[in-house]
């Protein structure tokens, strides 16, 4: 009969138990958790307007907002969600209950507006400052506008991207949950400051385009003086996004063009030296402001930028050839300045006649946003402005980035990898356990040994959840290695303890010391062998190296001493 009391009084066993409890708290497993977690909320979608906000990507998986009920029907997985959300009627209300709040979403129509060449008269209200009284007065006037027809195409998507609710705080890396990994290589060497700025801008850009759950990190090879290539990379990982979305996004980035007719006047980044972002020269246009327009509101924004002398000269050159026309008592040039973002027209600006042939470096960029209420229009307008500012500014990064590697894993494959890894882990523990039992023919040894192996895995997963690091296939390989060397070390300890007469109590310390001596030798070689890998291969094998090092360290300093104490107590009896 084994006496458990002395085991649980042993300080080494207690240390292991405390760490195990901490690890389990940090993993927070709950395999029966239901519902779907929110990954992304599209800007200006009905979900967004109902008050739902993008989750913070650094939040632990179990703390992410989770949808529990829709229209009072329980949601336990993605299939339930799609059954309820895929066939909605326009203007109906969707009641979404999450573990945090209750939201009411109004389903908006998805429309398409066709613009005809035919002009029709339209009345607009303009705010002007009365020169006599110096007050703002509303003046109604009639202008000719293109005739438009708006067709309703069906209900608009509610703008939610969801995934099955996580059942623990273990973060699955891209390999295991699907997504896209892009490795970008700067065309030339950049300084650390430039790299930080680059990462910031990349993050900002990706966020501006409404993608969350992204990690943008710097990865670099070992510096040249340590024998590496010193190459720098930017590693972007986007969970759940497919390759098309990402490549579209990357190709989307920064292509801002300002044209007069077919001629490019200036482009984002290269031709721009300064983008104003503070309130004095950016924001809602105080002269145009917000206007009701039928059922909707439109707000105009403006911000100033500075052009390079070359771009200014180009502009002067182009405007020189234009004619001056007169409209409503104001003199304009015959063609407009059209702003394009990724080939989509953002705005069209009249050019004042006084700019003809002038090399102006200060330019005002403007545009508009609309919404059903004034506040929404203002919000959209400012959002649009931020987007433009970002693109105009970040386009001006000193380096061109080349795509060095794009890797996409479909969510189905990711899920298969997870199930497969669990199966292998289970079978491996079973196999190792049977082998130990076969060799020692003693449950008193086989059970503590197998439990120690399992506890080493738990410790590793606990740390992974705590520091929020993503488990990918490389990390799983690392776990396999850590477990493998772990078992090897336990065998060394056991064999050392079992040599000679078990009852020779005075020899115990000596033998366990000898066992740990061998273990420390083996441990140090494994750790030093893994260190160079932390810095190699653009960091793609970093996960593997770090898992191996940490796993081995946990084993050597926490789990294996406890095991030695346990078998010492059990076998002495």
């Amino acid at each position: 009969m084994i006496k458990f009391k002395p085991i649980f009084k042993n300080i080494r066993v207690l240390v292991l138990l405390i760490f195990l409890i901490l690890a389990i708290v940090s993993i927070n497993p709950n395999p029966w958790r239901e519902g779907v977690a929110i990954r992304t909320i599209a800007t200006n979608s009905s979900a967004n307007l109902a008050g739902m906000i993008n989750p913070n990507p650094t939040l632990p998986p179990m703390a992410k907002e989770r949808i529990i009920e829709i229209n009072d029907k329980p949601i336990s997985n993605i299939i339930d969600y799609h059954n309820l959300v895929d066939n909605l009627e326009i203007n109906s209300t969707l009641k979404i209950a999450t573990d945090k709040k209750l939201y009411y979403l109004v389903i908006r129509p998805k429309t398409e507006t066709i613009v005809f060449d035919e002009l029709i008269p339209k009345e607009i209200i303009e705010k002007i400052i009365d020169p006599k009284s110096n007050e703002t007065i509303n003046v109604t006037k009639t202008v000719m506008v293109n005739k438009t027809v708006t067709n309703i195409l069906g209900p608009e998507e509610i703008g939610l991207e969801i995934y099955n609710a996580p059942t623990s705080n273990i973060r699955k890396g891209l390999d295991l949950q699907g997504g896209t990994r892009v490795l970008l290589e700067p065309e030339e060497q950049i300084s650390n400051d430039e790299m930080t700025q680059l990462l910031e801008s990349m993050k900002q850009r990706l966020n501006v385009y409404g993608l969350s759950d992204i990690t943008v990190t710097q990865a670099s090879n070992l510096p040249v003086y340590l024998g590496g290539s010193g190459k720098q990379y930017v590693l972007i990982e986007i969970a759940g996004a497919s390759k098309q979305e990402v490549t579209e996004l990357l190709s989307k980035q920064g292509k801002f063009e300002a044209k007069i007719g077919e001629k490019i006047v200036f482009i984002g980044g290269k031709d721009i030296t300064y983008v104003c972002k503070d309130a004095t020269c950016s924001g809602i246009d105080p002269q145009a402001g917000c206007q009701p327009n039928g059922n909707t509101w439109t707000c105009r924004f403006r911000f100033s930028i500075a052009l390079t002398p070359e771009a200014a000269a180009r502009q002067a050159d182009i405007t020189q050839k234009l004619d001056v026309i007169s409209e409503n008592g104001q003199e304009y040039l015959s063609e407009k300045l059209t702003l394009y973002l990724d080939n989509n027209q953002v705005d069209e600006l009249r050019i004042g006649a006084d700019l003809k042939g002038r090399e102006a470096t200060d330019i005002q960029i403007s545009g508009s946003g609309s919404g059903t209420i004034q506040q929404e229009a203002m919000f959209n307008s400012l959002d649009q402005m931020k987007k433009l500012q970002t693109v105009l500014q970040t386009g001006s990064l000193p380096i061109k980035l080349n795509i060095a590697n794009i890797e996409t894993i479909s969510p189905t494959l990711g899920e298969e990898f997870v199930e497969n890894s669990l199966l292998i882990g289970f079978l491996a523990i079973l196999g190792i356990g049977s082998n130990i039992l076969l060799r020692y023919r003693n449950l008193k040894i086989a059970i503590p040994m197998t439990l120690t192996v399992i506890s080493e895995i738990i410790l590793l997963l606990g740390l992974a959840s705590l520091i929020g690091w993503n488990l990918d296939l490389a990390a799983i390989a690392g776990i396999i290695i850590a477990v493998g060397t772990g078992v090897d070390n336990l065998i060394v300890i056991t064999d050392e303890v079992l040599t000679g007469d078990i009852k020779e109590i005075y020899n115990w310390k000596e033998r366990i010391k000898q066992g740990f001596n061998i273990i420390m030798g083996a441990y140090s070689t494994t750790v030093v062998a893994m260190i160079p890998l932390v810095f190699a291969g653009a960091g793609l094998l970093k996960g593997f190296a770090i898992t191996t090092i940490l796993g081995a360290s946990f084993g050597v300093f926490i789990a294996r001493p406890a095991y030695a104490a346990i078998i010492e107590i059990i076998l002495k009896e």
Binding site: F417, I491, T526, V528, A529
Partner: protein
């Protein structure tokens, strides 16, 4: 019989590991002169395109034939994805220049034409492209880290034993293990990916483990003859190797990830070679070392055995 040879003729037995090592170095030399590389680089180390296709009905031969006709100069690798012997799909690797959009598009369309169940989206969702410069830099840096890992390991071994011959012996065993495993991997035509290089790194750790165990037992215990100590170490060492074998075989048979499959294949070969390098080479040299050491101490100090 075998026991007798092992116990009495250990000096003759040393010919086996040395011969294997020489043959392996010869193979690697030939490989280098024939291909310019001392290993078969996979797409992740050379640059190119990798596509995972999850379709069990897909015909490997047909796809391979089609691709070979259209890209006669490319290196094409097709492997079935399987789990527990059942085919789940395939992985296609080809060393196309990823900056050549025309070739890449042609490649994608060839796959769709061969596999009517697939759409372009299926391919886009499971594709990986690596530029040749990145592949090359991957190879250089991971290879350098392998060499650095080896040097670090050697320093630790020297620090641990603080005697030259046993330390060199442990390092030699690890070196032979890696070289021979590489030669076998080459002969089997395995194309090594980044994960494969990681496997060689793991091998350093695993092979040194048993060598340290053996050397510690032989040098640092006082009880029994040298042969007794070798046997004691062997009992533990073989147990260690057998559990690792079990884990590696299970992972090899059940995994659906080609990366993990490659890691496990390399480890399996390495573990088998490690048995020879530890228990014949290392043990043999250690025994010779202990004999000369005892003779030396005996001549110096007659009262000490």
């Amino acid at each position: 019989m075998i026991k007798n040879i092992y116990e009495k003729h250990y000096k003759v037995l040393l010919v086996i590991p040395i011969l294997i090592l020489v043959l392996a170095m010869f193979q690697i030399g030939i490989q280098y002169f024939q291909t310019g590389d001392f290993l078969n680089k996979g797409v992740s180390l050379k640059g190119g395109v990798t596509v995972n296709i999850l379709d069990s009905k897909i015909n490997n031969d047909l796809i391979e034939k089609n691709l070979k006709i259209n890209f006669p100069n490319s290196d094409i690798e097709i492997k079935s994805l399987s789990q527990a012997g059942e085919k789940t799909g395939l992985v296609l690797k080809i060393d196309l220049d990823v900056n050549n959009d025309k070739d890449i598009l042609k490649f994608k369309h060839l796959i769709i034409d061969t596999a009517p169940n697939l759409t372009l989206d299926d391919i886009e969702d499971n594709i990986q492209t690596i530029s040749p410069s990145l592949g090359n830099s991957f190879f250089k840096t991971t290879f350098k880290s392998l060499i650095m890992a080896f040097i670090f390991m050697a320093i630790i071994v020297f620090y641990y034993f603080r005697t030259i011959i046993p330390s060199l012996n442990v390092i030699l065993a690890a070196f032979s293990d890696i070289i021979v495993t590489l030669a076998i991997v080459n002969l089997m035509g395995i194309k090594i990916s980044t994960a494969g290089i990681a496997a060689f790194l793991m091998l350093i750790g695993y092979s040194v483990d048993t060598d340290i165990l053996l050397a510690t037992k032989v040098l640092k215990t006082k009880k029994g003859t040298v042969l007794d100590r070798v046997y004691a170490a062997m009992k533990t060492g073989l147990m260690m190797s057998s559990t690792t074998f079990i884990a590696v075989l299970i992972a090899l048979y059940f995994t659906i990830s080609l990366e993990i499959k490659q890691i496990m294949s390399i480890l399996l070969i390495g573990l088998i070679i490690d048995l020879i390098m530890t228990w014949i080479q290392n043990a043999g040299i250690l025994r010779i070392y202990m004999e000369t050491k005892t003779i030396n101490t005996e001549t110096k100090n007659n009262d000490q055995i």
